[in-house]
């Protein structure tokens, strides 16, 4: 039941979608130093997909982005708990994070954090949860 009378919206979204998603990825990675993080990044990605849903319908979107959002949620939880529990194997308390710096040829000084993996879990859960809820309610006719 796709209506064909929102050409302008569809065209704009095709452009804007990538900008939003890229921005959300940027925000996710920037999180540790500048405003952002997994939660906001995840919500923004979900927002982008919702925009896509408004322009197209659920069936089209599920063809464009064939994710199972429930599995995505579980994967996110696995990342978060895995990072937290991983600390135990290094004989430090649960949820202790580690960080370090490495020098890469072109990119220069890069800091690495296990917190980012934890945040990736948060990101995946937020996208997964939002999309699961919207998808199930939206599909229910």
């Amino acid at each position: 039941m796709r209506s064909r009378n929102n050409v302008i919206l569809e065209t704009t979204i095709r452009l804007v979608l990538f900008i939003i998603i890229l921005f959300s990825v940027y925000i996710f990675f920037a999180g540790h130093y500048y405003p952002g993080g997994g939660f906001i990044g995840g919500l923004m990605t979900a927002g982008a997909i919702v925009l896509l849903l408004i322009a197209y319908d659920i069936k089209t979107v599920s063809i464009i982005l064939p994710f199972n959002y429930r599995i995505m949620t579980g994967l996110g939880l696995l990342f978060a708990i895995g990072t937290s529990a991983g600390a135990i194997f290094f004989d430090v308390p649960f949820l202790t994070h580690a960080f370090g710096h490495i020098d890469l040829p072109i990119l220069g000084d890069i800091s690495l954090h296990t917190a980012t993996i934890f945040d990736l879990g948060v990101y995946l859960v937020v996208v997964g949860v939002t999309m699961t809820i919207i998808q199930t309610i939206g599909e229910d006719e």
Partner: protein, 802 residues
């Protein structure tokens, strides 16, 4: 993590692998993969015997929650080791037996062995933990695994009933034991049993001592099926027979005995402990054996017999506790009672274990356990008959079986109650030997019923489902091992058990009697002359035979007891009333309307917060440190108020959603104003997503009806909403004005880069400093999403079915 800790949790870890064995090797019985584990553990624990024999104790600590004094301290002493050997030894035999008992084609073996390993690990944890909280955790785990095992054939109504009953009763006891543990902690400041025992003299004067004693005993009595909590054990017989042999006879029901023995040094200072343990034990002994005679189900007989034997051990522990009131071992006439308790504990495990396995064989090969249908099986199953005879005669206390030795010692212990001159025992003391003797007569009778009603008499093939034949060899190995032990222990009790197991166990129960050079010298005699004990045994045999032969004549005694007054009736009534009562109570306020729920929630919110605000005198408005209010803030606040009020008057849902969105977006502007970019971003995106969500949801709702468009004024709702607003405002103002301690923000400012190497404080708090919050929040989010998914998809599926 030491090897000892690993040994305790090994069954729990191994349980994870069971489903893979089951799925991967369908042709091999899963039990074969499990069997090596208990054997290995048995050998491992066996190596500790030389340690405990030399009065040494192995203690290994693994920090768990050190801040609360809760650490996984594994302690191997005489008592713990004895139980550990029982658990792993009987466990190995039971698993071997179960391989032949449970068919690999029909049964869900992976479930069975997972539950069984769960139990084994939990039980090892109970007997080897020195920390009471850790022990409690394992204790409840045994209740859960017992629940799962009783309900193993969950398609049967009676299995489910029995499982629920055992769960309710033992968990009730477990919770009260937790209360007792906490009381002990309040008195001593420690959860460690070793530590608490050293303070036993001090705490006896505490007003919390008696409540702690009663709470702990409730736990022990429910678990060990003492009267009046014994009613769950006969219903637990719905479990597969290997389980009954293992959990409900040899190990789990002895956890209560273990607890009483373990805490004897703490509580025995008080006479109440002696009284309660001894009298409940002796009455349970009598009641169990008396009730066993009227049973017609073989497993029913064994269940009541277990109840009664547990009572026997319990009463011995009670009497034995009197020995702690002597200074040393010389002339200490009550040590024999505790010795008998430990000895009988071992004997009971051997003969009752073999009897359960025998009954399992009869059930397996004939299809029934009803003694009215059985009879004359002697010719079909000669080996089984021999095993049954050894077990039952040992239970009846006949030589040359180990039951005779411990029964004699039991009589000695009970006769010595007569000499007890403290705690006003003297007036009732005569009841102990009398009840002990009467109970032994009944024990003799049901032991005879067990053997002779099944194996002799008329063979009734028409009542049996299958043609009986001897069991396969594999099924016979375990009972044969146990039955041989019954005889071997009779002939060599001292060289096998006295020094190796019994006296180290005594040293743990009665630690104050052990000095550096003297230990407990345990001597068990087959023959000790013509003394009162021997005449009591002879009397039991004579009267027992007489009563067994005249059983049909006096059987009607059992009808005298009115059906209405039985404990089972009482239990069923209580469970039913609890269900209907709570259902009615819940229904009175859960009316299904979200509006009334919100009214409840917010009314509670106002009452509790406003009360504590005024009661604690926290209301305070301090305007000295406020920033000036600018024009932007005023404008935004006005915007929010206007948008919020307009929602009430909006005609369509769409405009309501948009107005609600307006409120949210304006709030995020506030964050921008107050320089909180993270919050502003989050709020913006959240608003966007939730507006989308609302739109998706409202698509499904019916259109607002015309008559509802006119907003009617509802006083309650108005009061509640205004109240919430006022309370929240007051709390915000008071929170700002009251400063009891310095703010934590300085800590974050200093440490965000130092400790977490991040620059964005908000995000560092989220993922690092308060990572636990985030972890649980995303878990809750995931659960909520799955809940919504399940609710909607299930409803769809149901609609399609219709």
């Amino acid at each position: 993590m030491s090897l000892l800790h690993l040994a305790i949790v090994a069954p729990l870890i191994f349980a994870i692998l069971v489903p893979f064995f089951y799925k991967g090797f369908r042709r091999i019985h899963t039990g074969w993969f499990i069997l090596p584990l208990p054997i290995l553990l048995f050998v491992y624990f066996f190596s500790f015997i030389s340690t405990t024999k030399s009065k040494e104790v192995v203690m290994k600590t693994l920090d768990w929650i050190p801040s609360l004094g809760i650490n996984f301290t594994a302690k191997v002493d005489g008592l713990g080791l004895l139980f550990a050997l029982l658990i792993t030894g009987i466990g190995a035999l039971v698993i071997l037996y179960s391989i032949y008992y449970l068919s690999k084609d029909k049964e869900k073996l992976h479930n069975f062995y997972v539950y069984l390993l769960l139990f084994m690990g939990a039980m090892l944890g109970v007997v080897l933990s020195d920390n009471l909280i850790v022990m409690y955790a394992f204790w409840e785990l045994t209740s859960f695994s017992s629940f799962l095992l009783i309900g193993y054939w969950y398609h049967r109504e009676k299995s489910r009933y029995g499982a629920q009953k055992s769960m309710l009763i033992t968990v009730f006891g477990g919770l009260s034991m937790l209360g007792g543990i906490i009381l002990l902690y309040l008195m001593t400041g420690s959860f460690s049993i070793t530590e608490i025992i050293t303070q036993a003299d001090v705490i006896v004067t505490s007003p919390l001592f008696i409540p702690a004693l009663i709470c702990v005993l409730l736990g022990a009595f429910t678990k060990s099926a003492q009267f009046p909590f014994h009613i769950w054990l006969p219903d637990a017989m719905e479990a597969p027979t290997p389980v009954s042999a293992y959990l409900h006879s040899a190990t789990m029901v002895k956890a209560g005995i273990y607890l009483v023995a373990r805490l004897t040094p703490v509580f025995a200072v008080d006479g109440l402990w002696l009284w309660l343990v001894a009298s409940f034990g002796i009455f349970t002994l009598f009641w169990g054996s008396f009730s066993a005679v009227k049973q017609t189900d073989l497993k029913g007989i064994l269940a009541f017999s277990t109840v009664s034997q547990l009572g026997l051990i319990m009463s011995l522990l009670g009497v034995g506790a009197a020995s702690l009131h002597y200074d040393g071992l010389d002339d200490n006439i009550y040590v024999v009672a505790t010795t008998a308790a430990i000895f009988h504990l071992i004997n009971h495990a051997t003969f009752k274990g073999s009897l359960f396995m025998v009954v399992g064989i009869i059930d397996h090969e004939t299809g029934t356990r009803d003694i009215r249908k059985l009879g004359g099986l002697l010719n079909f199953m000669p080996i089984t008959f021999t095993l049954a005879m050894i077990g039952a005669f040992s239970m009846a206390g006949l030589p040359p079986f180990n039951g005779f030795l411990s029964k004699e010692m039991f009589f000695t212990g009970m006769l010595r109650v007569l000499e007890m001159d403290f705690f006003s025992f003297d007036s009732f003391a005569i009841l102990f030997p009398i009840l002990a003797w009467v109970a032994s007569v009944f024990t003799f009778i049901y032991s005879m019923i067990l053997v002779f009603k099944t194996f002799t008499g008329k063979y009734q093939p028409e009542k049996l489902e299958k043609k009986p034949h001897e069991a396969p060899l594999g099924m016979l190995i375990s009972p044969i091992i146990l039955a041989s032990l019954v005889i071997i222990i009779f002939f060599f009790p001292n060289s096998l058990l006295s020094d190796n197991l019994i006296s180290p166990a005594l040293a743990s129960i009665l630690p104050s009697l052990v000095t550096e050079e003297t230990g407990f010298m345990v001597h068990i005699y087959q023959w000790h002359g013509f003394n009162p004990e021997l005449f009591m045994t002879l009397g039991v045999i004579a009267v027992g035979i007489l009563l067994y032969l005249t059983l049909p004549k006096w059987r009607r005694v059992y009808d005298l007891f009115p059906e209405k007054l039985t404990l089972n009736r009482f239990y069923d009534g209580a469970v039913e009333r609890a269900q209907t009562g709570s259902f009615k109570f819940t229904k009175s306020f859960m009316n299904g309307s979200i509006r009334s729920y919100l009214v409840y929630i917010f009314t509670f919110f106002i009452v509790i917060l406003a009360t504590s605000l005024f009661y604690k005198n926290a209301l305070k408005v301090d305007t000295s440190e406020l920033a000036t209010i600018g024009i932007y803030e005023v404008l935004l606040a006005l915007l929010i108020v206007i948008a919020a009020v307009s929602i009430l008057f909006a005609k369509t849902r769409l405009s309501q959603i948009i107005l609600l969105g307006a409120v949210g977006y304006t709030v995020s502007l506030f964050y921008v104003l107050f320089r909180a970019p993270d919050l502003a971003l989050t709020q913006l995106v959240i608003e966007t997503v939730s507006v989308a969500l609302f739109l998706v949801c409202f698509y499904h709702l019916p259109k607002l009806r015309k008559e509802e468009n006119r907003v009617r004024f509802k006083l309650t709702n108005a009061v509640v909403s205004v109240g919430v607003g006022i309370v929240v405002t007051l709390i915000a103002l008071s929170a700002h004005s009251n400063k009891f301690f310095s703010s934590i923000s300085q800590y974050y400012i200093e440490n965000t880069y130092e400790k977490a190497a991040g620059k964005n404080m908000v995000n560092v708090i989220l993922v690092d400093f308060r990572g636990f919050d985030t972890l649980f929040e995303i878990a809750v989010l995931a659960i909520a999403a799955l809940g919504i998914f399940g609710m909607i998809k299930l409803r769809l599926a149901r609609r399609e079915e219709e």
